[in-house]
Symmetry: C2
Subunit: 241 residues, 2 copies
């Protein structure tokens, strides 16, 4: 008994989204990558937009499903619209490997324009869940990505670039950390995103000078040295644009 594919009645054709979901494990910046069943194809989490659904909501829906998290920092950064964004043979393989019934032609084999978002989440709060088509969803460091489908590699690169550009403008780094963190952890997030080392004293001065951090109790890690303070961000909740 073959499964039924989502119907074109429900979704807008030619329209998709992809999410680059960033997390920080304390050392490296990582992203979530899906592996499709039995095919060896890797891809970014993505999906289609319902006909009665805002694009942003479609993306949030899928982020909830993949991560279980409710309020996620999300930023749309580019829409990829080249005609080359179609790989019907690959798509057919994936669908067949998932035991879907495919007619001669199906809308999911068509050309897609993809609206791309990046999300920032707290690595440790999450138990990622694969989607219907996938065996697994795993964290990959940016310099250890598997070969990704289609133009997903370029999508990741562009996401990182946008994240870097927004790092100063918005208080973006926050969203990759737990609510309380040390100055060192914050610095490590910045270094991972920018891909360069920062000077400790300058960084600390700048962050404190911005007047956006609240200082809390000290964190006694058990190390043979002065204990660092914990900080949190002043304004509550998600720092969405």
């Amino acid at each position: 008994m073959k499964r039924q594919l989502p119907s074109i009645e429900e979704f807008m054709p030619h329209m998709a989204y992809d999410s680059v979901i960033f997390g920080f494990n304390g050392k490296q910046l990582k992203i979530l990558v899906l592996e499709y069943h039995n095919t060896g194809y890797f891809a970014l989490p993505g999906g289609f937009v319902r006909r009665d659904e805002n694009v942003d909501d479609a993306v949030k829906r899928s982020l909830r499903e993949r991560t279980g998290l409710e309020d996620i920092y999300l930023e749309q950064f580019h829409t990829f619209g080249n005609t080359s964004r179609a790989e019907p043979d690959v798509m057919r393989q994936i669908l067949e490997a998932n035991d879907y019934e495919i007619e001669e032609w199906h809308w999911m084999l068509d050309r897609f324009v993809s609206i791309a978002y990046y999300a920032l989440i707290n690595y440790n709060e999450v138990e990622p869940q694969p989607d219907e088509l996938s065996d697994s969803i795993n964290w990959y460091a940016l310099d250890e990505l598997p070969l990704l489908m289609m133009d997903h590699r370029q999508i990741v690169e562009r996401a990182l670039q946008s994240l870097q550009e927004n790092l100063e403008k918005k208080l973006v780094g926050i969203n990759l950390l737990p609510s309380k963190f040390t100055m060192k952890e914050l610095q490590e997030v910045y270094e991972a995103i920018l891909g360069e080392d920062l000077r400790r004293t300058t960084f600390q001065r700048k962050m404190l000078g911005m007047d956006i951090l609240v200082r809390h109790e000290k964190l006694f890690t058990g190390g043979a040295h002065k204990a660092p303070y914990l900080y949190s961000f002043k304004h509550n909740g998600i720092s969405k644009a």
Copy 2:
């Protein structure tokens, strides 16, 4: 004899683009706005994407048609994807006023996701041409815009914001000026975009310090004062990202 609407065979449904075309008249930043025949509706220049066409190319095609210019500085800045982006009654009115034949329902009355771009052109080089649905296309200063259809006003605001953010990163201001210009003209472009006055000496020092300008002969305007130098940009042509 009614005219025929573009066929859905040619275009992707639910998918559109809009362009915010900026020009600078020497004093103000302006944008091009269309007025639809006999309806009093104003809108941004936009269009649909052919099934076999890159989105970027669709936008360039329409820019050529509206402006006659070939190489235009163009930047995609956001995709607007809310379900509220549909006004079937208004759209029907516009089409009827243009003497198009409309069946019960038509794909152009549907919800659209719009991929938005901004363009920078040389105000004086252009003789704007209205599209099929429009009586006129005219320059409007940003603070004297007519009431625009749908969410086009928000699109303009977001375009301006992106332009402001890109002003420092890229050498964007260039594209609004003729190939040779004075330092004062360049400063006026920056001021119009940023919406604030800049300090003359600091601006000049910064621009010259960037090492991107070539100094040419002086410009004798006939004013009772020292003649300014003309400058052009070092690297040739369009400074696309």
